[in-house]
Symmetry: C2
Subunit: 338 residues, 2 copies
């Protein structure tokens, strides 16, 4: 599939979804749309990602192109009206439009009419499917080993770690797939249930449904975790994923230096060992799972030696191999997991 | 408020909501509608509840009546067409209609029109308010002590225990209120967010919102818990309530003899001490709370002496006072909690 990615005025620093797609997705990226940096190329700004030209509008994207992805999200998840001409052009060219916004494009009258006329699809990945239901407690029946990333907090690198581990496992010849649970993961993978938007009763069920769908087709599933089990706002989602996934193995993700809950700074993070006890203790009655490895996000440490030292200290605290899956290799961690 | 309760062909054994309302709500119950037992009275079937005549239709309910409550729920939560004449009559008499069905009465064209014409309200308590959002982690700032019922499983008596403890506390002269989280609790109390139907990201926030709403008006809040922290399907809801409520004290509810998860019999319940460790361990990083008391549902034990023995054994396992709040008094438990 050949796609264009809309990231107007926010590429690269505020375009997390666009970067995730450029870094991890199998799509062939025809162009990034950003009228501010138009004329330059992706790799002038970011290393280690697929290169593509940056253009100012959908009119400048060469054929063939199958879909336009909305690669940015303003706070609140609304639709910016200055994106409308590009979405319109995409639909008129029979491209699907894929969006993770809270504003559902399929409910926009103009877009719905155009999609209908041109035989293409508006895919709002943040809208859960209507047929989700409660879990049956059977995710452990699939053939694949299920590996779940869990975290000490939000935004510590669970999605990135999931993608890196799956990619590296495949590069080593294993048959691994990602089970995405959030909007960026879903846009990268092209499928998935947005767990944070499902009805709370269906949280575990929405994860189970995905594992049953792909769990017999692969040897390993890397399930993207969300939040943290002691997060004042998001622990419900974390707990539902833990029990819905019925994982065999857990990877505990953390950010070096993080001491309080992001955005909830009056809450201190407990010690790493406490997380191990809580995740393993909570998993056990439903499906025993141990923390087999750790992933430490060291983006805050400039010096590689300091980052290596932080990873080693984290591995020692965990009693398991650890890495920064972006900065260092994942060999030791994959050895423990696969 | 004077209400009629619809329970056609299911009173009393399959009318859990009707019974809860008769037992705990402050409403003056004008009549129960059940065409099968019409002509008899409520207390011919059930002790310890408000008495009321049983009649065959809304036409037989004397004025004044302010609301019709749907007191039963078929599997799936649909609306039975043979209830329609009673709902119609209620609306024509300007009564509100209160329902916990999945089928929303407000979306029924005939009912919506009638409610509009007669200036009354269709209250679908299972539809969450549209303005819910994520928790701020501030439920501990209210004046009231927050007491949360937690469970070893679904259907062990969390709602009933919550109601009994709050009622008994008030009878002892304390100012206590219930924070309902499920449909029956909401219908009894006349307000509340249906936590199992909110978006998973808002689970904790929907509890916090209720506690902030009433927490400065009372000395004690009894929060109705849901599910169990190790339930294969519903643990997300349980975890969100635990962290959203930021309780000071927990009451662990269990049913005597229950050994496996109800409806998920391949899952064994862990030992009671494990629940204590899990609930307290999970609460601690957000808001430390200990299990101060236990509630054991002994409905399966005919003999009072055997029930008393089971309660004593449960208290010993917990290391805290326990009771069956329906069968025995709650004095020892309230002493520990208030």
């Amino acid at each position: 599939m050949r796609v264009a990615i809309l990231a107007h005025e926010q590429f690269p620093d505020r375009a997390k979804t666009a970067l995730g797609v450029l870094r991890y997705a199998d799509y062939d990226v025809a162009a990034v749309l950003d009228r501010e940096t138009a004329g330059r190329r992706v790799t002038e700004f970011v290393a280690d990602v697929q290169d593509a030209p940056i253009v100012s509008s959908m009119d400048d994207v060469d054929d063939p192109v199958d879909a336009l992805l909305i690669g940015i999200a303003p706070i609140g998840g609304g639709f910016e009206e200055h994106w409308r001409p590009d979405v319109r052009t995409a639909l008129e060219r029979s491209c699907d439009v894929i969006s993770g916004l809270h504003y559902f494009l399929a409910e926009d009258e103009e877009f719905a009419t155009l999609a209908d006329e041109h035989g293409c699809e508006l895919r709002d990945v943040r809208e859960p499917p209507a047929d989700l239901t409660v879990a049956d407690g059977v995710a452990d029946e699939v053939d694949a080993d299920v590996i779940l990333t869990v975290g000490t907090d939000c935004s510590v690198g669970k999605m990135t770690t999931t993608m890196e581990l799956s990619r590296d496992a495949n590069e080593h010849g294993y048959d691994a797939a990602v089970v995405p649970t959030g909007q960026t993961g879903i846009m990268i993978e092209g499928w998935g249930n947005p767990i944070d938007r499902v009805i709370s009763d269906f949280t575990a069920g929405a994860v189970e449904e995905m594992i049953l769908e792909v769990g017999d087709d692969h040897d390993y599933l890397f399930v993207e975790g969300q939040g943290s089990i002691v997060h004042p706002a998001y622990s419900a989602v974390t707990c539902g994923i833990l029990h819905g996934a019925m994982a065999d193995k857990l990877v505990l993700c953390h950010e070096a230096g993080r001491e309080t809950v992001h955005g909830y700074e009056s809450f201190s993070l407990p010690p790493i060992r406490r997380y191990v006890d809580l995740y393993e203790g909570l998993a056990e009655p439903v499906r025993p799972a141990r923390i087999f490895a750790g992933a430490l996000n060291t983006r805050g440490l400039e010096d590689d030696a300091a980052a290596r030292e932080a990873v080693d200290a984290y591995a020692e605290a965990l009693g398991a191999p650890a890495t920064d899956a972006v900065r260092f290799d994942t060999d030791g961690v994959l050895d423990a997991l696969l």
